[in-house]
């Protein structure tokens, strides 16, 4: 299914002096989608967001909205609104005046203004707090004000810059769900910037992973996690065991990996020629030494447990499969009586061949 692109970014670059914050990025943002820009700090994700919002002028490239070039439009002329990382709730106005600010600029008539502000207030569940000031609100409430203030303008596109980074962990999880719910309710395209990969995976329809000014992979959360296209993405999104791989003698697409033995390039598992083999910690299983894997066709290796970390929901082991080759294994504590191996114990590690991903440089 091809979806209609609301925003087309074509070859956009932004240089600050000699630093290339965004370097030749092209991307389509679909109408009504929930897109997350994910990357480590300094990867250019916020600059890209600010380019779309009109807060930065591109050094090169075009941004089209509905086919019309908007790169030259200032932010106050774009049907795009932004929720700032600091929320920027005006401290000298109460909640209601903050939300009405944009509507007053548009000279919305008083009865409609009241109706739309009330609507926005109840949309973000701020009922009863309309006369409060910024300093009388919690971080989560401030964020709701910033959301309502942007949404009340009925933009085509809502940009959110690290919207959850200022909230504590529990609240962050709640707000993740609420943002997704809100997105479904209002039917507006959301573009969210975050450095938190859990947040990105749980909220997004599509995630663009960015690094040093470019998009490394733009995909669904599932594909990003299960089929990363590069070593960087594999390493950045989730935890990953990454081991160097060499073409095995004899060729035919087989690779020799220290600790894992010889592995075949499974269909659709990344680039050839590969330089690395990778497997997620939770896709490795632990069994008693010498025990046969319960799966036919599984691969196994003998290992010694070097470290055990208990996380409640899971226990993470570091096991040594060969000299200098350690694997991280995550085992779910699916029973209260689950017993983890102890440090120094010999175990068998086993995995399915299809779970090994081959990666290029």
């Amino acid at each position: 299914m091809t979806r209609r692109a609301l925003i087309e970014v074509r070859g956009i670059s932004k240089h600050f002096g000699r630093e290339k914050a965004v370097n030749d990025v092209s991307l389509d943002i679909y109408d009504k989608e929930f897109l997350v820009l994910l990357g480590p700090s300094g990867c250019g994700k916020t600059t890209l967001l600010r380019l779309i919002g009109g807060f930065e002028n591109p050094t090169e490239g075009v941004i089209r909205m509905d086919g019309r070039d908007i790169a030259a439009l200032p932010p106050n002329k774009r049907p795009v609104n932004m929720v700032f990382q600091s929320y920027a709730v005006f401290p000298h106005m109460n909640v209601r005046d903050n939300i009405a600010y944009g509507l007053r600029i548009d000279r919305v008539a008083a009865p409609e203004l009241k109706r739309r502000v009330d609507e926005a207030v109840s949309l973000v569940q701020l009922d009863g707090l309309e006369t409060r000031f910024s300093h009388q609100l919690s971080g989560g409430q401030r964020q709701r004000v910033a959301l309502a203030r942007a949404l009340v303008k009925r933009p085509r596109l809502l940009l959110l810059d690290e919207p959850l980074s200022a909230l504590d962990a529990k609240l962050r999880e709640t707000m993740q769900n609420e943002l997704v719910k809100l997105h479904n309710t209002v039917g507006i395209t959301f573009v969210v910037v975050t450095h938190d990969q859990d947040e990105a995976l749980s909220m997004a329809e599509r995630v663009a992973v960015m690094e040093s000014g470019g998009i490394r992979q733009l995909d669904t959360p599932r594909n990003l996690y299960e089929a990363p296209s590069s070593r960087f993405v594999a390493d950045f999104v989730g935890r990953m065991n990454i081991l160097p791989a060499r073409p095995a003698p004899g060729g035919d697409g087989r690779y020799a990996v220290d600790g894992l033995g010889e592995i075949a390039a499974a269909s659709g598992s990344g680039a050839a020629p590969a330089s690395f083999a990778a497997i997620r910690p939770e896709k490795l299983r632990i069994a008693a030494p010498g025990a046969a894997p319960s799966d036919a066709g599984a691969h196994s290796a003998e290992a010694a447990v070097e470290n055990v970390s208990y996380y409640g929901g899971q226990t993470v082991l570091s096991v040594c499969v060969a000299v200098g080759v350690n694997l991280t294994v995550a085992t779910p504590n699916s029973s209260r009586n689950a017993v983890a191996p102890s440090v120094g114990e010999r175990v068998t590690v086993w995995w399915r061949g299809e779970d090994v991903i081959l990666l290029g440089e």
Partner: protein, 309 residues
Amino acid sequence: MQTEPWQSNKVVFAALGLPALLWLGVFFVLPLGFIFGLSFSDKSGIIGHDLTWTGGNYLRAFEPLYLGIFGKSLLVALAATAACLLVGYPVALAVAFAPPKIKMPLLLAITLPFWINILIRTYALIAVFRTRGFLNFTLEWFWNAGDSLLRAVGLGGLGDFAPLELLYTNTAVALGVAYVFLPFMILPLYASMERFDRSYLEASLDLGAGHWRTFFKVLLPLTMPGVISGVMIVFVPALGAFFIADMLGGADSQLIGNVIERQFLGANNWPFGAALSFLLMYLTFAAIVLRRLFAARAERADGGGYAPA
């Protein structure tokens, strides 16, 4: 803030606070009390005063002559403060928003005049303001350039340049006061803008506001604490300034500061000078109280919220 052990030790606290207290007592409270007493005294002989609790000194201050001077001082101080604000606000804004690399040199340039004696700076203004001074030279140059331009296109000339008679006028005094106190306006403004979160401006633009609306609805209200501090810091000393009026003003430019100075030095009427000093102080207090009242009202309107501190 955590209380350090020495803060709760009364002896240490007193020992640290005592020098400053003594200083204030000996050099501020005592002389002020002396002047307060003087303002209710009568002259006796050439140098003597008797404390008679007379109100005559204060009554004399309400003679039309002195009321007029009070009024003029107020006008000059207000004009100078307004000029400082109009010039200082954009400058402070430019410095606060300047790239970090040139911010320090700019701040240095603003504070540089502090390193030069204030009298020398004021004397320099004479060379600027006088009839054949730098200001008139510049104006004349532009005038003549405009004149030849108009002649060249055949629109007739502007006629001869008439130099502005600026020096020894009240305008020169107000400009001089504004010039001397300008850094005191810029620095508190700069401080309030430096702390200002840029994303408020971006949020305003994002919500559709133009630059003017953003200035009046967001930037100005949020930098109001700096505006008020700057206005107070300039207005209060401007009200008592005397040497600038001495140097740049004419016969008609006597400010209340000059009158007070003359009572103490020339006219040798310390009681009247003291009474005028105290009246000036009450005027200043009134300004501070007014400001407090406005701040309190703003706070109530907010429901105990944001108030310009």
